[in-house]
Assembly symmetry: C2
Homo-oligomer: 203 residues x 2
C-alpha cells in the first residue's frame, strides 16, 4: 500500500498522544492502522525512529516559529537585551497555536520531555532552539549567578513539560491553550526576575 507509511504515522500520533509513548505498543498501532507489524520496521526501523519522524514533522515547524519570533525580538531590541516576558512568550505561544490544531500531539511533546525516554530525540529536535532562547534569557536576567540561572532554566523545563502533558488535576477549560501558556509565562517570568537566593541556613 502506498499510504502505509502515512497511515502508521497518523495512527501513532493519535495513540502516543492518548496513551503516552511507553504506553503504546507497536502492535496497537498496526492493529488500528490495519497494517503488518513488519511494515513499521520496514518504513521506520524502530519505535524510536517512528517517534523521531513524528517529531520531525510536527515539532520542527513549532521550533521554526519560535526562532522566527525570537529573531524578530532581537531585531527590535538592537543591542539591548530582550525582556524576559517577551522571550518566554516567543517560546510558549507557538506551542499553544500547535495545540489548537492538534491537541494530542502537544501532549506527545510534553511526554517525551517528562518521560525522560529517548533523550537523543529531545536533544536532536529541541536543543538547538532551546539554546538560542537560553542565551537570550541569560542577557535578560544578568543579576543572577550563572548556577542559579541554569537551575531556573531547569525549573522552567519541568513546568513546561508537565503543562504540555496536560491532565491538570482540576476542571479547566482544556481547550484554552493560549490562556494556559500565558499563565505559564506570567509565572515563569516572575520566577526569573526574582533576586538571587541568599546564601544561608535553611531552618
Amino acid at each position: 500500500m502506498i499510504d502505509t507509511k502515512e497511515k502508521i504515522l497518523e495512527t501513532a500520533a493519535q495513540l502516543f498522544g492518548e496513551q503516552g509513548v511507553a504506553g503504546t505498543s507497536l502492535r496497537q498501532i498496526i492493529a488500528k492502522a490495519d497494517v503488518n507489524l513488519a511494515a513499521i520496521h520496514y518504513h521506520f526501523g524502530s519505535k524510536e525512529s517512528l517517534l523521531d519522524e513524528l517529531i520531525h514533522r510536527k515539532a520542527d515547524p513549532v521550533n521554526r516559529e519560535r526562532l522566527d519570533r525570537l529573531c524578530r525580538l532581537e531585531a527590535e531590541a538592537g543591542d539591548k537585551p530582550v525582556a524576559v516576558e517577551a522571550i518566554l512568550e516567543a517560546f510558549f505561544v507557538p506551542t499553544a497555536a500547535a495545540a489548537e490544531q492538534n491537541p494530542l500531539f502537544v501532549r506527545v511533546m510534553g511526554r517525551i520531555h517528562s518521560e525522560g525516554l529517548m533523550p537523543a530525540i529531545v536533544q536532536k529536535h529541541f536543543y538547538p532552539t532551546a539554546q538560542r532562547f537560553v542565551a537570550q534569557l541569560r542577557r535578560a536576567v544578568p543579576h543572577l549567578p550563572e548556577e542559579e540561572f541554569l537551575w531556573r532554566v531547569h525549573f522552567m523545563m519541568g513546568a513546561m513539560a508537565h503543562t504540555m502533558c496536560g491532565t491538570p488535576l482540576f476542571p479547566a477549560d482544556s481547550a484554552d491553550y493560549h490562556g494556559r501558556m500565558r499563565k505559564l509565562v506570567t509565572f515563569l517570568s516572575a520566577g526569573f526576575r526574582a533576586p538571587a537566593t541568599a546564601n544561608g541556613e535553611t531552618k
Copy 2:
C-alpha cells in the same frame, strides 16, 4: 537467604533511581540482588506493589516531616495566612534532607511524578499531604483567581518533579540539595506572588 525482601527493596531503590522505574526490569533487580525472580512476586505481588512498598518506606517519613513543619507554621501564624516562602520551604526542605541521606531515592520520587506511570501510587502517598499544602497556599495568595492559582500549583509540580529527577544538563554541585531546594523556593515563591495574568490577546 538472610533477608531477601530487604535486599530486593534496596536493590530496586538503587536501580529505579539510576534508570527510572519503567527502565528497570525485575530481572535486572533479581540478578543484582542475587535472588529468584519469583521471590519478588512472593514478597510484593507485582512490580507496582514493590514500588508502593518502597515509597511507603522512604516517602512517608518525608511527608510526615512536611506536615509537622506546616503545622508549626500554622500554629505560629494563628489566624493569619502563612507566607508563601515559608509554606514552600516546609514542603521542599524535607526533600533535601532525605536526598542527603539517599540521593537515588529522591530521584525515584521525581520519576514517579514525571513518568506519569502508576498514578494510583502518587495519589495514595502524596495527595493527602499535597492537599494540606495547597489549602494553605491558597490563603497565602488570595489575589489570584481560583483557576490561575490551580495552574500555578500545576506548574510547581512540574518544576518539582523535574528537579527531583536530577540530571540538570550542566555542571552543578549535585550534592548541594539544600541549595537546590532553596533556589526552587525562591523561584516558585516569586511565581506565586506574581499578579494574575491579564485577559487579552497574545501576539
